[in-house]
Symmetry: C2
Subunit: 304 residues, 2 copies
């Protein structure tokens, strides 16, 4: 039992509430531990930097979160995470804990639309944690919490870009290299190579290119209502994220896509990587209600 790799909400387990857990490698702060608390996550399992947590840590998280109504495992689509959480899910089931899982796949830059289920999960997971946590807090069953997060994943798309890499301490060299005039398009939040190295362009230009690809993927259409999430990857000033936000908002306005809520800041980073991502989530009444439900975590709070 590697307790130091499991971080648990102070009052867990909450009796009669579905437990919501996630996890993954370190280096993505405030994800994952910054979102533990009332209305969001009950426990997380954390690995070394950019490395999946061990199965026992995931199992410990599930046990700690189990309030008698089952546990929902939320994870991104990475081989190590999927494997280790599957082992943890098997252990939990053997221990009599009902378990369901949802694997997020919001990164349109990591695979074609025809194979959307193979895409990576990136910052769109934040919406899943918020929605699952709110649904669980409202008394939702394990199946209802799972269905709400599946709806999030089905309606969420993200695309990222980086202008400088990060360096994993254990490796000691940058995750990728770029010339002064290059950007890594469709980068992953571990610095995975994107679909192309492209010439640098202005914040408005790159945001427009990314937003168009995101809009066309679902696609998001006139009359839809969406949430916008502009996520800083670690080394990009918040001021610049707002410049990107402005462009996304303009493009949605032009297409008569309504913006229901907006999130701008660092939610899921890749150490000191400079760059950002654009995420859209199509909203319905249930998702709007769950997004705005109270939450009290170190890095995200919604006041009732």
């Amino acid at each position: 039992m590697d307790a130091a790799r499991t971080v648990v909400r102070a009052d867990a387990p909450v009796a009669g509430k579905v437990g919501v857990i996630t996890g993954g490698g370190s280096g993505h702060k405030p994800s994952f531990i910054g979102f533990i608390g009332q209305g969001m996550l009950d426990a997380v399992a954390v690995g070394e930097i950019f490395t999946s947590p061990p199965p026992l840590a995931c199992f410990e998280a599930a046990k700690a979160a189990d309030g008698g109504k089952g546990v929902l495992l939320l994870l991104g689509n990475y081989a190590g995470d999927v494997m280790n959480f599957q082992l943890a899910a098997d252990m939990a089931k053997a221990a009599g804990i009902p378990v369901e899982q949802v694997i997020s796949t919001d990164d349109v830059g990591s695979g074609p639309k025809e194979e959307a289920h193979k895409r990576r999960g990136v910052v769109g997971a934040f919406f899943g944690w918020k929605v699952a946590g709110a649904k669980a807090a409202a008394g939702g069953s394990l199946e209802e919490c799972k269905a709400a997060v599946e709806k999030v994943n089905a309606n969420t798309r993200t695309l990222g870009v980086a202008i400088s890499p990060c360096t994993v301490p254990a490796k000691g060299s940058p995750t990728f290299t770029l010339a002064e005039d290059e950007m890594e398009y469709a980068v992953g939040h571990h610095g995975e190579a994107g679909t192309a190295k492209i010439k640098t362009m202005s914040a408005d230009e790159i945001t427009a290119k990314m937003t168009l690809e995101v809009i066309n993927d679902l696609p998001y259409k006139a009359g839809d209502e969406v949430a916008i999430l502009i996520n800083g990857l670690g080394g990009t000033p918040q001021l610049e994220l707002y410049i990107c936000y402005r462009k996304v908002k303009q493009m949605l306005d032009e297409r008569e896509i309504k913006v229901g809520s907006s999130y701008v800041g660092e939610f899921f980073t890749g150490l000191e990587m400079a760059g950002f991502s654009v995420t859209l989530m199509k909203l319905d009444d249930e998702l709007k209600e769950l997004l705005t439900a109270p939450a009290d975590t170190p890095n995200y709070k919604v006041i009732a």
Copy 2:
């Protein structure tokens, strides 16, 4: 009237409450506008990047914040800010608005202790905004709000270090240059040169050096209770800030200085500059109560 340079709380002015305003150059997000809201700031005046806001913008902020009980102007000790806010204060007084101001000077790296009043104000101002906002929300008079912030400033000390500069867009070149193996010690949050370029050292080593200088400046002593604020300057991952926090906490424990509250994250940045600062504030019962009072702003919330 340059309304675009004044950002105001949605329900301002709050009748019968002292208005609390601040301001300064842009490029420090989430400061200043991220801290506008219930229990903190009523309005801020913002300038171009790293440039003081014009006096009329400061005056507009004061007018917008005036709920009939006067306005408290909080600013850092920079020549342009001091001059422009003084002009705004004169305009406000001429318009019949009672005004007081407190100039923060928490940066121990910017001058000797004997001339502490000449030091720069840096991220310690965050504590002043929180305390003033809470005091005002609790019905404090203009003099009482001012006295509370003066107590904050008298008990708060900060020291920063950078390992890479930022680039102001209008200038287009880095604010300073460092060799691969150098750090800028006692740097300002605009990238002002510090007291020395020093050889790089580990996070624990540099944190220990900075913390010792901060502790010895006030000095903070055995039996004191303090708040710790580890502020990222923009390009430093939150994960690394927690490594620095751990060292500060160890050093305070060794000296039997009690830690009453902890703040780790980006509160006052210098664009994409990589680095961090260590801030300590000595607490008393009043400051503890005001720090933990409810607040509801985009970038800082305290749930009642």
